[in-house]
Amino acid sequence: IAGLSHSLTAAQIQRYSRQLLLPSFGVKAQENLCKGSVLIVGAGGLGSPVALYLAACGVGCIGIMDPDRVELHNLHRQVIHNEASVGETKVSSASRTCLAINSSVKVVEYPFGLDARNALDIMAQYDVVVDASDNVATRYLVSDACVVANKPLVSGAALGMEGQLTVYNYLKGPCYRCLFPTPSPQAACQRCSDAGVLGVVPGIVGTFQALEVIKVLTKVGEPLSARMLILDALSSRIHTVKLRGKNTQCVACGELPQITHITLPNFDYEKFAASPMSDGTPPREQV
């Protein structure tokens, strides 16, 4: 491997040697990772394994975005944090763990939430976006912004004992609004703080999200575009299903989009989703 003309340093070749050995992966794929960049929206149950494994495998630049601070009740699932970081911002705690595992990657901390005004500028700086958020309003914002900024979106969700994962806005696949033009009624928009969640469920979904990011950045394998992974942890049933393609009438990614770089910044996502972007809403039973 050393003989080939490539940009990997001796230290990188040693660190990533077990990946470089893979026939389907190799030097070119590792170079793509080391030159690649990913924005992770959410440093919680999903964001923890995503950031951990993407830092470990050598993604060149990792942006982590989360307005919250670490709390004790996060630690049963947010394994990138630890007791010493309780009270600290989640992004600085996550960044420290990532750099401890791989000091050769760059981590950018955004200790605030994504909103309609900052989304496009921030996303423009990254190759791939990961939705590891925990509320409806953010999910519509992230999807719309990815369509306008033309970025693939690796979107995961986890609640209770169930998980879902798909790659939106990639190849000919749909965006979030193609699947759900109208948001769920409020009673169906639950948070982990309401319905609870078993730690390993976002753990499995988040680790799988890291796999999809790697495949999008390296063009190795077939990512879950127009397919959805559905996990039911109670019965350990996990399978993938086939989804519709792009909806030509979609207000976001359709032929006559109403969501553009001009209209998006003024769109009121919290009103549209009838639920706030930040945590701390009163508990409701998930239906």
Binding site: G42, G44, G45, L46, G47, D131, A132, S133, D134, N135, V136, R139, G156, A157, A158, L159, G160, E162, G163, Q164, L179, F180, P181, T182, P183, S184, P185, A187, A188, C189, Q190, R191, C192, A195, V197, P202, M228, I230, D232, S235, H239, T240, V241, K242, L243, R244, E285, Q286, V287
Partner: protein, 108 residues
Amino acid sequence: RLGVRRADDMHLTLEFGGGLELLFGSQKKHEVEVTSPDDLKEVTMESLLSWIKDNLIKERPEMFVKESSVRPGVLVLINDSDWELCGRLETVLEENDEVIFISTLHGG
């Protein structure tokens, strides 16, 4: 099995997830016998939805159906394929088909 099997009844496997199972006695999987409405020989997704509303749902029907379709946020899969790909309400179902209704999750 739910329901006595009549000659032209159709056996289907229904599954509810993402929280929808709470409307069906917290039971995710249901093996059911569905009768095609009046003289029609076919069972379509539309007739299945009204069959479910009349025979299976235990509470808050508005959290499952809206007008003649499913409420927003519910994904419908027929044999592991999005019903959008096979004609939504007009899709004609066949013996032993598997239909999954799953509510999109927002948590993380």
